[in-house]
Amino acid sequence: MDDIGSGPMVVACIRITDLRPQIEPLSGTVVREPWSTGLSPADAAALEYSFRIAEAWSGHVVVITAAPSSADAVLRDARALGATVLRIAGGSPSSDQAYVDELGSDERGMAGMIVAALAPLGRPSLVVCGDRSSDRGTGALPAFLAHELGAAQALGLVAITTTDQESMVVAERRLDGGWRERLHVPCPAVCSVEGAGVRLRRASLTATLAAQRTEIPQVTAAGGPGTTRGADPVGPAEVVVGPVRPFRPRTRAVPAPDSDDPRLRLLTLTGALVAHDPPTVVGPIDAAGAADALLAFLIRHGYLDTEPVGEEAATEVEW
């Protein structure tokens, strides 16, 4: 096992699997190739967020996965980036395929195995996972992990940022209509992230070469649900949803048409015979100019009450 760094421990719990599996069209059998294993975009995002948060906290990253030895190349890449890596191997080395098939079948048991494997390294401050794996993953593992660890959970995130306190991260999650909600997540916590918005950093060539010469530490699958739960007896702290609320379009009062003739009332309501603004070409302009043009249009047509001013107003519109 590698020497574990000091500071808070951020765990990237990733699934390494064949990114280009072949599906037998008749039987539906998934045929995996060991050489095309890799990280899904969500798992790559989880790894990148782990590094960002560990840097901000002056902590260290532990990358853990349950996979056969074909995952070692990916783990070496993670090691080249400075992480401590750990692979949970199957009990029988002769049945890698069976082990991979088995991995997705019992996510609660998997969470128990992961927590058991992490126990000797200490209690993680934050565990980051992909929101779903590309190999039959249901996205349930992070929730089971949170349960096993007795940690808070915030799932399906698009961003995680640190705060002044090491006991808290701020996360964003998509909402309908292009809006997002902001979550204040107390640590220890388990977060899962979407594969969007960040790109996994690349290791230097020297570190990549050095990592290739190292063995990947592994532990044998053990544990199970509840076997190693180190939960706080009072339970995890609650995630606090920020002041931003989901987008709800405001109703707009339309005055009643002033006519006894139903046809005229209908024309008034629909504006069928009223001249409309012709299409206006406002581009090409830069992003800020385009935003101003859109806001001016919304204000002109009554969708916004007042003209936003400065950065504060822009934030208000965004959120």
């Binding site: 069209p25 190739e33 050489w35 190349a73 690349r202 230097s204």
Partner: protein
């Protein structure tokens, strides 16, 4: 390249990793070179830009494995083969006719085998794994962006797109494919000439294995290789069909300038081929799995780049080592052969303490002494003959009509005599008998 271009690379620190050799490109040539070097006890790094060897390679053909005999004993027990080719068919076609010369050998389906169909993502990875097992270091997802030079302009390594990404080495082996940027930067490769290249496009079509067996007359591990002429709307080139385990590779290879002139999309030609009455029954019910395209260096011996310079040599497609000689269409075996020769030459040069062009010159002589350059030299006139106007546009139709005239029963009209039939069919296709004779003599000279 001007001497003035050969300036020392600024900022090349002395602590950059140093190796005996850096091999760029983990295709068959690169992996073979790395394997030879690693087995010779040399430190070697194999740099691959894809996420794994074979991830970006396109190949629709047969791999002839004899060259692997010196790489892996009894390689046939472990190579990721799709099918062993036991049938080799050459088909002359028009839009509605075809004449096939079909050869089948039971011996080709037995040890030590002749040729195999394989999928490059599996085959390349298998070969790269052999190199890694022998001690080479494989670095994937890394692009070699340029050459490092010392104060004398000598190549001393490569620069990659990674942070601290300089790799110093005694020798750089450029196996970076048909459009080798390293060979160009080193001044080894002349400006690209479209007429020396073809565009290969192929579809991989899903078809159950037992259906392939039934339709092509095969047993489970047996495969067929069909080469086609006259299926490209007059664009110089040809078509191919190979059987894999549960898929069929079908495609066309097209002369690049003629394709551009014809303003035809290559996928239209594949669609033509799939609908041809001699091909369509094979593919009924097949579904498209992949589509791919790739440039092929088919210029042959006379278009090969300079292969060696101080601190660097080129192999595989980068050295235009694809044999496109009509009856023979081979590439991977030449890539592996050249890679192995490159590895041996680098080993000798390092042992002699001379990695200059002179010290590496044994690479060329080694290639000349074996099939890699001997075959290319022997068939150096073949590309021009095979892609000539009469071979491409007149003879397929002529042969089909000749056979049609022989076997169409025209009772009560008596059968035509052979000479009269040949004269009339040749005249129909605008071929004079003396041209036919001249081309026959020319073919005998080229292939004799």
């Amino acid at each position: 390249m001007d001497k003035g271009d050969m300036v020392p690379t600024p900022g090349v620190s002395s602590d950059t990793p140093g190796f005996d050799a850096v091999v760029v490109g983990a295709g068959p040539a690169g992996s073979a070179a790395a394997l030879a070097l690693a087995r010779a006890g040399r430190s070697v790094v194999l740099v691959e830009r894809g996420p794994f060897p074979g991830s970006k390679n396109v190949y629709g053909g047969v791999v002839y494995g004899r060259v692997l005999d010196e790489v892996v004993p009894e390689w046939w027990n472990e190579v990721p083969v799709e099918r062993w080719v036991v049938r080799r068919s050459t088909m002359m076609m028009t839009g509605s006719q075809s004449v096939s010369v079909d050869y089948r050998s039971a011996a080709w389906g037995e040890v030590p085998y002749n040729g195999m169909t394989t999928l490059r993502s599996r085959f390349d990875n298998w070969l790269a794994t052999k190199a890694v097992e022998a001690g080479a270091q494989l670095v994937t997802s890394t692009v070699a962006t340029g050459l490092l030079r010392d104060a004398h302009g000598r190549i001393v390594g490569v620069r990659t797109d990674r942070d601290r990404g300089e790799l110093r080495a005694n020798v750089v082996v450029a196996c970076d494919g048909v459009n080798s940027f390293l060979a160009k930067e080193a001044g080894l490769m002349p400006p690209a000439e479209a007429s020396h290249h073809t565009l290969g496009v192929k579809e991989v079509l899903d078809l159950p294995g037992h259906v392939i067996d039934e339709r092509f007359g095969l047993r489970r591990s047996e495969g067929v290789d069909i080469e086609m002429l006259g299926c490209t709307r007059g664009i110089p080139g040809g078509g191919f069909l190979y059987t894999n385990s549960d898929t069929v590779s079908l495609g066309v290879v097209l002369s690049l300038p003629h394709l551009a002139e014809a303003k035809v999309r290559p996928e239209e030609l594949i669609a033509d081929l799939k609908n041809h009455p001699s091909v369509a029954p094979y593919l009924r019910g097949a579904t498209l799995r992949e589509y791919a395209a790739h440039l092929i260096p088919e210029g042959g011996y006379d278009t090969m780049p300079t292969m060696v310079t101080d601190g660097m040599l080129v192999a595989g497609d980068a050295a235009a080592m694809t044999l496109a000689a009509g009856l023979w269409l081979e590439g991977v075996n030449f890539a592996i052969g050249s890679g192995l020769a490159a590895g041996r030459a680098v080993d000798r040069a390092i042992a002699a303490g001379d990695c200059s062009a002179k010290g590496l010159a044994s690479y060329r002589s080694d290639l000349e002494g074996q099939f890699v350059l001997a075959d290319h030299k022997r068939f150096r006139k073949a590309p021009a003959l095979v892609l000539s106007e009469r071979i491409q546009q007149r003879y397929p139709g002529l042969i089909c009509d000749l056979v049609d005239g022989m076997f169409t029963v025209t009772n009560p009209v008596p059968k035509p005599g052979g000479v009269r039939l040949t004269r009339s069919v040749a005249a129909k296709h605008g071929v004079k008998l003396r041209q036919l004779a001249a081309d026959t003599v020319r073919a005998l000279k080229v292939f004799g």
